[in-house]
Symmetry: C2
Subunit: 496 residues, 2 copies
């Protein structure tokens, strides 16, 4: 970390802690320079950075001031899904979300797409070129069912950071995390079985259950600590649950990292009721804090955890390179792998293996962690600025997804339809529930660097939310009553 970055972080922290209040003038460049023993230009660069992050505002000839802002909205309370197994619905809404992603004109605020435009990803193109130049005939033939040995070797090494001591032979390469989840679910469950899931949870998991005729029981989930183990235990006692699917690290959509003691308790619980744990770690490497959080797999003592992951969120989803560590279910997972795709594309496996072995992975990962953390700061600031009061917003600990909870009566489907003309796409909350709950919620992505377009989109979004909230009157009162934040709001207010 450079000096100016260090200084900027220090000042940001002081602002966050209230040492410098909103609207207060910050120390002059000269003062800070002598106070911290750094050059004038270092302080200036630090201030530019903070300005970029919208934490401070320059006023001509009088220096920098702390940008006034609203208090952080509260985080959502623990969820309260239906407490019985249900058949999964919502496919139409998922399809709608997926179809919107191919429209280049639309601002994809609802997509799970990472930022693939960073310079640290450039060597991937070279890795692909190199593979093509080598004309290795292995690339054209059927790969083994297990996947490319050199890639499995690299993955085993990467996973040490997540607490897993694995060999290449413990890993099966898949066509993205999607296939990893799909074959894992199918390996441990039959048609008609019941699986417990976090609520809300990733729609891909839910649709897979639907496709295989498996029912889901949604378990209350806290946006800071994850799935309620107490509720899960009750569910286990009441229903013959075969497996639990969780996204414990940088959860999609809630952004939490499940505390380690709760991960341990989950393993114990699964052992007590002899259930499998399917762990989706696809965002795990993108935790803001270093070292990254451990996986539940690393606590697995009897092979009941199936760890699923991919390079889709860290590198690029178009590669379709994922993996599964199936533990005791290895043979069944392998059989399902054969059934589903036979083998994985060799070319992209080779390119990824080359990218990692040449040392490009870690620098890229570091960059993405910092980038997403900064994006989050700016994004939440904009959300605070443009959204009305009376909402709850998650505080993600990694990844690039945020969950916004609006008053109960709010209908995100209607909002989505409204936004279509403005070419803005969001993920409606009901996608993340088996039974279509969370219509009053949105999942937004801050993967892409905030531009004026993003700000305009959030202003439109905020205004639409405000209008909708006004039209359901009790909510309106709440919103107005608690609207005691100091600053003027952009377009939203004017449009009333």
């Amino acid at each position: 970390m450079t000096r100016y970055q260090y200084l900027a972080d220090l000042l940001a922290q002081r602002i966050e802690q209230g040492l410098y209040q909103a609207g207060e003038r910050l120390p002059s460049v000269r003062t800070l320079s002598s106070e911290h023993g750094v050059s004038i230009s270092t302080v200036q660069q630090a201030y530019y950075l903070l300005e970029e992050r919208q934490l401070i505002t320059p006023q001509s000839r009088s220096g920098y001031f702390v940008t006034p802002r609203k208090a952080a909205p509260p985080v959502p309370a623990i969820t309260r899904p239906v407490q019985r197994p249900v058949e999964i619905t919502q496919w139409d809404a998922v399809l709608h979300l997926l179809e919107a992603r191919s429209d280049e004109q639309t601002l994809q605020l609802g997509s799970g797409m990472p930022d693939v435009g960073q310079p640290t990803l450039k060597p991937l193109w070279k890795a692909i070129s190199r593979v093509a130049q080598q004309q290795d005939e292995r690339l054209l033939g059927y790969d083994t069912l297990y996947g490319l040995p050199e890639l499995r070797e690299q993955i085993a090494r990467l996973m040490i950071d997540s607490g897993c001591q694995l060999g290449a032979d413990d890993i099966v390469i898949t066509t993205g995390c999607h296939e990893a989840l799909s074959i894992s679910i199918r390996a441990v469950c039959q048609h008609g079985d019941i699986i417990a899931v976090e609520s809300p949870t990733f729609h891909g998991i839910m649709q897979t259950l639907r496709g295989f005729g498996i029912r889901a029981i949604e378990i209350p989930t806290d946006s800071s600590s994850g799935i309620s183990l107490e509720a899960l235990e009750l569910a286990f006692e009441q229903w013959p649950i075969k497996a639990v699917v969780v996204v414990p690290n940088c959860n999609n959509p809630l952004g939490f990292i499940m505390p380690e003691h709760r991960k341990r308790a989950l393993v114990t619980l699964a052992q007590r009721f002899d259930a499998a744990i399917i762990e989706d770690d696809v965002y795990g490497e993108l935790a803001f804090d270093y070292p990254r959080p451990i996986t539940i797999k690393s606590l697995d003592t009897d092979g009941r955890v199936l760890l699923c992951s991919s390079f889709s969120k860290i590198l690029a989803p178009g590669l379709r390179v994922g993996w599964v560590v199936p533990g005791r279910y290895f043979d069944r997972v392998l059989h399902m792998k054969y059934i589903v795709t036979g083998s994985t594309t060799t070319l992209t496996q080779m390119a990824v293996a080359g990218f990692i072995s040449q040392g490009y992975y870690q620098p890229h990962l570091r960059r993405m962690r910092i980038t997403y953390q900064r994006n989050l700061e700016i994004f939440t600031r904009l959300v605070r600025q443009h959204f009305p009061c009376g909402i709850c917003v998650t505080r993600p600990q990694g990844g690039f997804l945020i969950w916004v909870e609006l008053p109960e009566a709010f209908d995100s489907h209607r909002l989505n339809a409204e936004l279509r003309d403005s070419k803005i796409q969001i993920a409606v909350g009901s996608l993340f529930s088996a039974s279509g709950k969370y219509r009053n919620c949105l999942r937004l992505s801050y993967a892409q660097t905030c531009t004026d377009k993003t700000e305009r989109a959030l202003a439109i979004l905020g205004a639409a939310v405000e209008r909708a909230m006004q039209s359901c009157s009790p909510v309106h009162e709440l919103a107005t009553a608690s609207n005691d934040w100091g600053e003027g709001r952009a377009s939203g207010k004017e449009q009333r």
Copy 2:
């Protein structure tokens, strides 16, 4: 086609028709030259080609002679599988076959791997390089569920030759034909349903049924004309069959092309019993005769045919680019596509689209059709030469797979174990039956150009078959009794 190739084919035809008998001296180079009005060197090249194809043998100073050979063994009779739905077994044997394919020392006579070493495939490497150089960010992002529009466009055009008038929007791209079959089966069937299949049929189809808890009823199948429509009708009357899976063009493993009137009759039958038809056309383009045979899909009037195919057999399986034309099941197939892999690797889709649009596909396909047809000639000649009598061999009309039926008591599993030390791998017949029938059969591939190694392998194989046949005495008598073929046999006989 060059002049010398034309002449060689003409002479080959005459030999096949018996105009030139085994051991007979062929016309001199000079005679042929004047007879056909071609140059001496053209005749010489034609003779070299025939020599390479082992149809003629040069004798120093006396010219060329027709190579003596045995009569063609008969084709297998129509199969007689179990006439009720069964649960599928045989996964262990399939896994064994798949694992052998990564051993580079082993001669893969049992694999479904095409020849990827041909020069007409070289532009594919360039297509991949070009994609990498363009650094098109679409390559990194999620593709649409449907697949790359330009590739679907190209596929729609290619399929005109198979009688199908399709638009790009009728097609969904998949991770190989494997995924196409898997999602098609799952789209039309539930757990516990019954599907009718040809017997024998591709093990990938069978294992998919197993994975989804679907039972198979194997229908008697003729090695020249395909599935018995009479037996299928009886099965329809007796069981609630949801769908029929067929490989009507260049069948795997029997090599037949189903006659057009039988394709029509199959569609009528499926309509009568309201069943879906899942058509695997993965070898269809490799039919020896031009124009290629039509697909059943081209006869589909009410959208009940799901056509599955890929570039795995024509270009290269490592690409994992396939497709499905799901007809009326489009939405369900799309849902299953989302569940199974989410989307298909973009890079390989772009490379294939580039390869086709730049005009490399048709020349490559032509070359492969000719290559496989020649390989087949040489391969069957070697089989005749090295295998004992009392066997039946299919006469493939395309593709690169041949099916050898040995006497009932023969155990191909034991043979396979025996061959392991010699580093030869075959596909045991029982892989191709739901209930493990056809232990007395082998599927062999002639995709790779015959080398001395292939000949040695077939000699070892033939000898092992002969030994095994001797050990089961009635078969032994049969083999000896009918062993009236004119020529001495290689290693096999000496080892007695």
